[in-house]
């Protein structure tokens, strides 16, 4: 009888098994949100290398940043993007760095405008001389190639529609040679960026979602990507270094708990499936 009852418990239908997994997932994420656990967030060397690379930009350099994430991965690359923009805008003020932003997708154009408007301190900086937002340049790899081969004819206007001939800071930018530091955020493969931007052998910064990092290792290990932010955790660490805690820091405790939950779940299921096979079921 006991074996029968034990058998009955395990016989949960596959759909219900999924529902239990989802339910536990909700709880594991919700609890650290309600009761902040204040777990330690050690700074990893990759994020401090990203900070040092940005901090190492020389006086009067030109930085070109391409946002290419879309709304869907906002919670993952958003913290890193906001922290990077804040850091670069501080350098624009301190070291007269030229900051050019453009978007690879339509949604990214809206993200850029929102970050610059709500999260960046642009007081004392003049649009068009210190920083400029070129908005969406469609075409995918064609846009990335166009920006570094023939900047003037590829860009044509900024996001408001004013021709770039009337924007002082863009007058002398012809191609990738005039740009000192490249940077982009991405939620997918970065081969197209490497194909078009790596030949210039300039520092390239990358704000990548966590799953993308292993895929970018061939480029990171070769130094084609100088430094990168490792998804949400990288964003939280960058916020901590800059001293302006934001979205990333409030998520990081829940990330730790969720990781523990998934690990425990895997071990339980693995052990359960191995001895199930031993019993030859």
């Amino acid at each position: 009888m006991a074996a029968e009852k034990k058998e009955k418990i395990i016989k949960i239908s596959s759909v219900n098994q999924d529902r239990i997994i989802f339910l536990l997932l909700f709880l594991v994420i919700a609890i650290p949100m309600i009761v902040p656990l204040g777990l330690p967030v050690p700074i990893s060397s990759t994020t401090s290398k990203f900070y040092d690379t940005v901090e190492g930009i020389q006086e009067g350099a030109t930085v070109l940043w391409c946002t290419s994430m879309g709304f869907s991965i906002w919670y993952n690359t958003g913290p890193g993007e906001i922290a990077t923009f804040r850091h670069i805008f501080r350098l624009v003020r301190e070291r007269h760095i030229k900051f050019i932003v453009f978007a690879e997708g339509a949604e990214d154009a809206a993200i850029d405008r929102r970050i610059i408007a709500e999260h960046c301190d642009t007081s004392g900086l003049t649009y068009g001389e210190d920083y400029v937002d070129l908005g969406w340049i469609p075409g995918g790899e064609a846009a990335l190639a166009g920006v570094v081969t023939d900047f003037q004819s590829t860009v044509e206007t900024d996001y408001k529609g004013t021709p770039i001939s009337q924007i002082p800071m863009l007058k002398d930018i012809k191609s990738g040679e005039e740009i000192d530091v490249f940077g982009f955020s991405s939620g997918s493969m970065i081969d197209r960026f490497m194909r078009q931007w790596a030949p210039f052998r300039k520092p390239i910064l990358l704000n990548m979602i966590a799953i993308g990092v292993p895929l970018c290792m061939p480029y990171i290990e070769k130094g084609m990507v100088t430094a990168y932010i490792n998804g949400q955790r990288g964003g939280a660490e960058y916020e901590k270094i800059l001293g302006q805690l934001g979205m990333g820091s409030s998520f990081i405790d829940a990330q730790s708990m969720v990781h523990l939950y998934i690990i425990i779940m895997i071990i339980v299921v693995a052990v359960w499936s191995i001895n199930r096979r031993k019993k030859g079921i």
Binding site: V15, D18, D191
Partner: protein
């Protein structure tokens, strides 16, 4: 005449292209290499057979990537496999549905499925609403496919092509809906999920090899042999580079930057 720093790149480019061309010509003249067996391809019939047992349908998609970006080759390979799946569905008289995410894929998919069913011996089974267009955006594609899989619960779910993040939701929903699953992509981004969720999978270039094997044309098979030989050439270059660099000379780095 040639841009400095890209001359060795041009040499490698020409050598690889000539290798490909050489083996394509050889295949045209009948010396066709034989592709090693790919489990996912052999199981296509078994998959559609499951649809016969359950008396339900088959769902196929090539994901969000279209033909206008760098992932065109993978979408094209996915279409070649779809043609074969349509042929098998024609033989077993199983209805098939293709979810399109790019409007210009609609006529292409329609032609592919129509010719597939014709080859399978049931041209009358084909109808235009087998190709369902769900809109340009990834989220709209995902929402439509997830609700379709949850409602229809097809017996088999195929996903070949330049698949992006929608792979997780599509394959996850199909797994929950209990479908048998085949998937293959050269975009490695979400590949661990294809390994976890699918019964049969094609990793990286296996997708191109399957498309070549499926279309069965000698030329496609010749291309695969050309790719294999090119890979060995690149490996030889890698080993040469290791030997030269370990021997202390910067010869290899100068050669690459020539």
């Amino acid at each position: 005449m040639f841009v400095v720093g890209r001359r060795f790149e041009l040499i490698v480019f020409v050598v690889i292209c000539l290798t490909m061309y050489f083996f394509i010509e050889r295949a045209k003249r009948g010396k066709v290499p034989e592709i090693r067996p790919l489990p996912a391809l052999q199981a296509l019939d078994e998959g559609v057979g499951r649809a016969v047992e359950l008396g339900s349908s088959v769902h196929f998609t090539t994901g969000v990537s279209g033909l206008a970006d760098a992932f065109a080759p993978q979408t094209i390979a996915g279409l070649a496999i779809m043609n074969k799946v349509a042929k098998v569905c024609g033989e077993y008289a199983i209805p098939m549905r293709y979810t399109a995410c790019r409007s210009y894929m609609i006529p292409i998919a329609e032609d592919m499925i129509r010719s597939g069913y014709a080859f399978g011996g049931r041209p009358e089974m084909y109808s235009d609403d087998m190709v369902v267009y769900v809109g340009e955006a990834q989220t709209a594609f995902q929402a439509a496919v997830v609700s379709y899989l949850m409602d229809e619960k097809p017996a088999v779910n195929f996903m070949f092509g330049g698949v992006q993040a929608e792979a997780i939701q599509t394959l996850g929903a199909a797994a929950v809906a209990g479908c048998m699953q085949f998937a293959g992509t050269a975009r490695m981004f979400y590949f661990p999920f294809i390994l976890c969720l699918c019964d049969y999978s094609l990793i990286g270039e296996e997708l191109f090899a399957a498309a070549a094997a499926v279309s069965g044309e000698n030329i496609q098979l010749g291309t695969i042999r050309g790719q294999d030989v090119s890979k060995f050439l690149v490996l030889a270059l890698l080993i040469l580079g290791i030997i030269l660099t370990t021997a202390g000379t910067a010869l290899f780095k100068r050669l690459v930057g020539w």
